[in-house]
Amino acid sequence: MLNIHKLVLSLTLVLLFGVCGETWAANDAGETKPDSLSATEQDWTQLDEDEEELVVWDPIEPFNRGVFWFNDKLYFYALKPVARGYRAVLPEPVRESTSNFFQNLATPVRVVNALLQFKGRKAADESINFVFNSTFGLAGLFDLKVVQPESADGEDFGQTLGHYGTSPGFYLVLPILGPSNARDAVGSVADSLTHPVSSPYYLQMKQLEIIGARVYQTVNHLSLDRDTYESIKKEALDPYLFVRNAYMQSRAARIDK
């Protein structure tokens, strides 16, 4: 029932940014400030006109906090120790190449979504790199960067939906996968149809192989990560709120691009 491979990938995302829902509320109305005011005269309690107050719709917060707690334990007691052992065994260049390989492998997902948003240039850049990296880059182990894309962030179906005005819906923390929202959860399922590993249309890998690939990708990713989640836990007054907001901001910024 649960799409485990997607869950594992999401966990990585969640741990880094959280995956969450978001709703936007306008700035408090009617308080415009002239530009000529000096810093001390300015009302700094207001956000700038180009910024929007981010209000998360989190109707199932108690449930989400429960799952967040579970994912936290899973990270510290299972994934992280495995990643540490893995890091001790394999040198960094090998792990970087592994990461390149998975990054290259997911190109179809990014191309499809760039096309769905009529971002032709992005789709072309991604495709050119895919062709060169898959061949001369030895199946993607080496990122030759034949084309330097304007922005490094890849498109996904959650962003495609957002691009056409779909609101994020409620905030949702998924087991293993981590923070998400109604929109992005739907997006992940759609993306799994175009991803070479999980797609039922080509390669046609077995369920167990799909899970294995995702777990391996996650462990490899964590072996390169510099304790992002640890520093969030250490610094934030409430890591749950920090992750929720960071994920929302990050998704909103990516949809705008």
Binding site: A39, K234, N245, A246, Q249
Partner: protein
């Protein structure tokens, strides 16, 4: 004699004309100076414990405007707070941000920082920087406001996530549910925790 007068006049005029642009160093140069100094201090293995913290603290306090950051973080709650609460918040928030910022920089002190574009609009500026760590490149943007000749940081945007907007939502929710007393208690605990873990790493 007339020429000398004229020369003096011209040079005075010139210096007046040049000075506004000249006296204030560019925001990028000012950010770079602070970041480089912080990294230098962190690499200096002689400096440890309390003296290290003091040095970093004075460097950071010279570049960050914690009062503006506090106002922005509390938003509407700032306006309802008493003066005493405002002062208490600014002082706790400064300590907390300082400890977090030092922790972050410390983790990346062996990596390189490159400086991108600066964008200046009236008395505000954005300075783009990137921290390079192996294959990963983390964009960190500083938002600054001009006060006198100096640019002061009022927000740090890491990978498009504004820290102040993040704090604004978390702290707002904590104040709403637990009041200022609840918020202050949490902040004090967090500062103690961060100090302790910093002490552990420096004594290792």
């Amino acid at each position: 004699m007339r020429y000398i007068k004229l020369l003096i006049l011209i040079s005075c005029g010139l210096s007046l004309w040049v000075s506004p642009a000249d006296s204030a160093e560019s925001p990028k140069a000012q950010v770079k100076a602070t970041v480089d100094q912080v990294i230098d201090v962190l690499r200096d293995k002689q400096l440890q414990g309390e003296p290290l913290r003091q040095t970093l603290s004075s460097l950071i306090r010279a570049r960050f405007d914690f009062t503006i950051m506090s106002q922005r973080t509390l938003g509407k709650y700032w306006r309802t707070a008493t003066t005493a609460e405002q002062q208490r918040f600014v002082s706790l928030f400064s300590e907390l941000l300082e400890a977090s910022y030092i922790g972050r920089i410390e983790a990346y002190s062996d990596e390189s920082v490159s400086y991108g574009d600066e964008r200046i609009e009236e008395n505000r500026a954005d300075v783009a920087t990137t921290v390079h760590s192996g294959n990963t490149h983390i964009p960190i943007d500083y938002r600054l406001v001009l006060q006198g000749d100096d640019w002061f940081v009022y927000d740090v945007v890491i990978e498009e996530v504004s820290l102040i907007r993040n704090y604004r939502s978390s702290y707002g929710e904590i104040v709403r549910k637990e009041g200022f007393s609840g918020l202050f208690k949490r902040m004090e605990e967090k500062i103690a925790e961060l100090r302790q873990s910093a002490g552990e790493t420096t004594s290792q």
